[in-house]
């Protein structure tokens, strides 16, 4: 019996034309993963090694300084980043989620204009970020809106930037809600509005929250559009409102790196470390939200 099974097994394997293919494929996959991890690890190691010396309380409590590089900080940039990202969330999330709910729950897919909107949103997600900066510079910072190079302008630019991503991820989250939930709710006499608001949206919250936070994390790391809409280089005060001038961490890093004195470059590495920590904290929040509120059907 045993011999027979063995022969059969052997025969089956042979039938799949050799055993080398799968193991080579697995090895290639592992090699890719290892390469990515090695790069990431190398990058992090360099940043930590160069940045740790200046990664102290001064970094977050002191303002930028040209005169005392040893104790200069990036407080204005940190608060600027928090302000801009909060505003971005405030503008982009309601708009993006509402647009996604319309496209997913209300829009008739057989109308050509809805398909066109969809196509355009997907294209917008691939537009270079600096374009959004130019757009906001031309219409919001300058005439006709003329609000100037302030926090609000930065928030609007980043909100436009992440809007397509928020819409796409929210739609994915809504699509993951089983059709039976909708049918059941509608069958019990609930209106489309009641079904969407009380059943579909709550069930999709983890997906929406995860997608939104990841989109915001992307926005936080942006420098290019913000340089255009007024994130100025040397700012030594924290924003005190949406109409305050500001700077952000990526812009500050961008400006610290080419400075002539070594102290500023060390500070740049510490600021990079700070930015990474802010991003990690946001990603951790996304993971926690997803796990906390995830439900399975």
């Amino acid at each position: 019996m045993t011999t027979a099974t063995l022969t059969l097994d052997h025969g089956l394997r042979k039938g799949r034309r050799g055993t080398l293919g799968p193991s080579v494929f697995a090895f290639v996959l592992w090699a890719c993963l290892a390469l990515i991890c090695a790069f990431l690890f190398f990058l992090l190691a360099v940043i930590v090694q160069k940045g740790i010396a200046r990664f102290d309380l001064d970094l977050v409590t002191n303002q930028p300084s040209k005169i005392r590089p040893e104790t200069a900080g990036v407080a204005s940039a940190l608060y600027g980043t928090l302000w801009v990202s909060a505003l971005t969330a405030f503008i982009a999330l309601p708009l993006g989620i509402a647009a996604a709910v319309y496209l997913e729950e209300y829009a008739q897919q057989n109308h050509w204009w809805n398909r066109m909107i969809e196509l355009n949103i997907q294209n917008l997600a691939a537009v270079p970020t600096v374009i959004y900066g130019i757009l906001v510079l031309a219409f919001v910072v300058r005439a006709p809106l003329s609000i100037g190079a302030v926090v609000l302008a930065g928030g609007i630019a980043l909100a436009l930037l992440i809007l397509p991503v928020v819409i796409i991820t929210t739609r994915e989250a809504l699509r993951a809600v089983p059709e039976e939930i909708r049918s059941g709710s509608l069958a019990l006499g609930a209106t489309l509005w009641q079904t969407t608001w009380r059943q579909v949206l709550p069930a999709a919250v983890p997906g929406i929250a995860t997608g939104s936070i990841l989109a915001l994390s992307r926005a936080i790391g942006e420098a290019a559009p913000l340089i255009l809409v007024g994130a100025t280089t040397f700012v030594t005060f924290n924003p005190d409102g949406v109409l305050s001038r500001y700077t952000t961490l990526p812009v500050q890093i961008f400006n610290l790196v080419p400075q002539d004195r070594q102290e500023f470059r060390d500070l740049a590495y510490a600021a990079i470390l700070l930015l990474i920590l802010v991003l990690l904290a946001m990603n951790a929040l996304a993971i926690w939200l997803r796990n906390r509120y995830q439900r399975r059907w």
Binding site: P64, S65, K66, I67, A75, Y79, G80, L82, W83, S85, A86, A89, F90, R142, G148, A149, P202, A203, V205, A209, G230, T232, T233, F234, V235, T236, F237, N238, P239, D240, G241, R245, T247, N255, V257, P258, Q259, D260, R261, R265, L289, Y293
Partner: protein, 324 residues
């Protein structure tokens, strides 16, 4: 149902709390303590322009805000040309410049009814640097530099610059086309602003020039004097011969202009409209009065007594214009 609603409420609370926390941060950090005599100054002073001048203006801003904590001075780095574009659109109070304003930029300002004054606030000596291992030259003439940098230059080896130089490939590092440094260097060496060969490593980041030149035996680059002083251990600065013998880049040479033609003045351009605002007027005054401290803090080449007097005279005229 109930459980879900509770959970939903949780999420909303978290989101709201996060938003509020962010909004609460950052306010209240502006201490508006009153110092000195008279009315405490307040309001914004907006500077933009040359990245060469930025460290100087930022140092001035920092010292000024130390005395006038109600004033918010910001300094941007759009480049000399980019700075003038914003300045002439009325978006900034003062423009930083590492060269004098061009005629077409003047025209742009006049069209928008923006009048301004040119004030020199420091000196600079554009420094030509080579690798430490370069033993064959200490001095280059302007003619030789032009031969290297002119638009149609085909020089790719040191022995093409002068037959007595060894057979070492030439690597070139220079300023990017948006910078005043590029305009000034090309104007001084090639005779026309913006005229330069294109096949070099253009960068706004002088560290790249430092690393590039320090890393290759045949490399050559140029940047501001303060940058050279910071990196003097890694690089060798060349003397420049403009027909009157070799002159090394130095504070003195930059001040008296003997380091010709690469000694250059650095400017700020306050607009008349901005000078009507008391905080801008005080800032410009401070920039000139405390020029020595500011220049020292930012490690630039200071003004001479003569240049200071000239700037102060210009300021007196300005104050008269501003009605003080």
């Amino acid at each position: 149902m109930t459980i879900r609603q509770v959970k939903r409420a949780h999420v909303m609370t978290i989101v709201a709390a996060a938003a509020l926390t962010l909004a609460a941060c950052g306010g209240g950090q502006n201490n508006t303590a009153v110092q000195g005599s008279g009315e405490p100054l307040s309001g914004p002073v907006v500077l933009d322009g040359s990245s060469t001048v930025e460290p100087l203006s930022a140092a001035a801003a920092e010292l000024f805000m130390g005395e006038n904590s109600g004033v918010n001075v910001t300094v941007g780095t759009s480049g000399t040309g980019g700075g003038f574009k914003k300045f002439c659109a009325g978006e900034t109070d003062i423009s930083d410049a590492s060269r004098a304003i061009k005629d077409e930029e003047k025209k742009l300002c006049t069209e928008k009814n923006i009048n301004f004054t040119e004030l020199q606030i420091a000196n600079d000596a554009l420094t030509v640097v080579v690798n430490k291992g370069n033993t064959w030259i200490d001095c280059l003439s302007v003619v030789q530099l032009k031969k290297i940098w002119e638009p149609d230059s085909t020089v790719t080896n040191w022995n093409q610059v002068d037959p007595s130089f060894p057979d070492v490939p030439l690597g070139l590092y220079g300023a990017g086309a948006d910078s005043g440094t590029f305009d000034y260097f090309t104007g001084a060496i090639n005779g026309k602003e913006g005229a330069s060969r294109k096949d070099y490593n253009p960068t706004e980041d002088d560290n790249i020039t430092v690393q590039g030149v320090a890393g290759a035996k045949g490399a050559l680059g140029y940047f501001g004097f303060s940058y050279y002083e910071e990196n003097a251990a890694k690089l060798k600065a060349l003397k420049i011969d403009n027909g009157k013998g070799c002159v090394e880049p130095s504070v003195k040479g930059a001040q008296d202009g003997t380091y010709s033609p690469l000694a250059r003045p650095l400017f700020i351009y306050p607009s008349d409209a901005a000078l009507k605002k008391p905080q801008v007027e005080r800032f410009v005054e401070f920039y000139l009065e405390k020029n020595d401290d500011i220049v020292k803090a930012a490690r630039f080449v200071p003004l001479t007594e003569e240049q200071k007097t000239k700037a102060k005279d210009a300021l007196t005229v300005l104050k008269a214009k501003a009605g003080k």
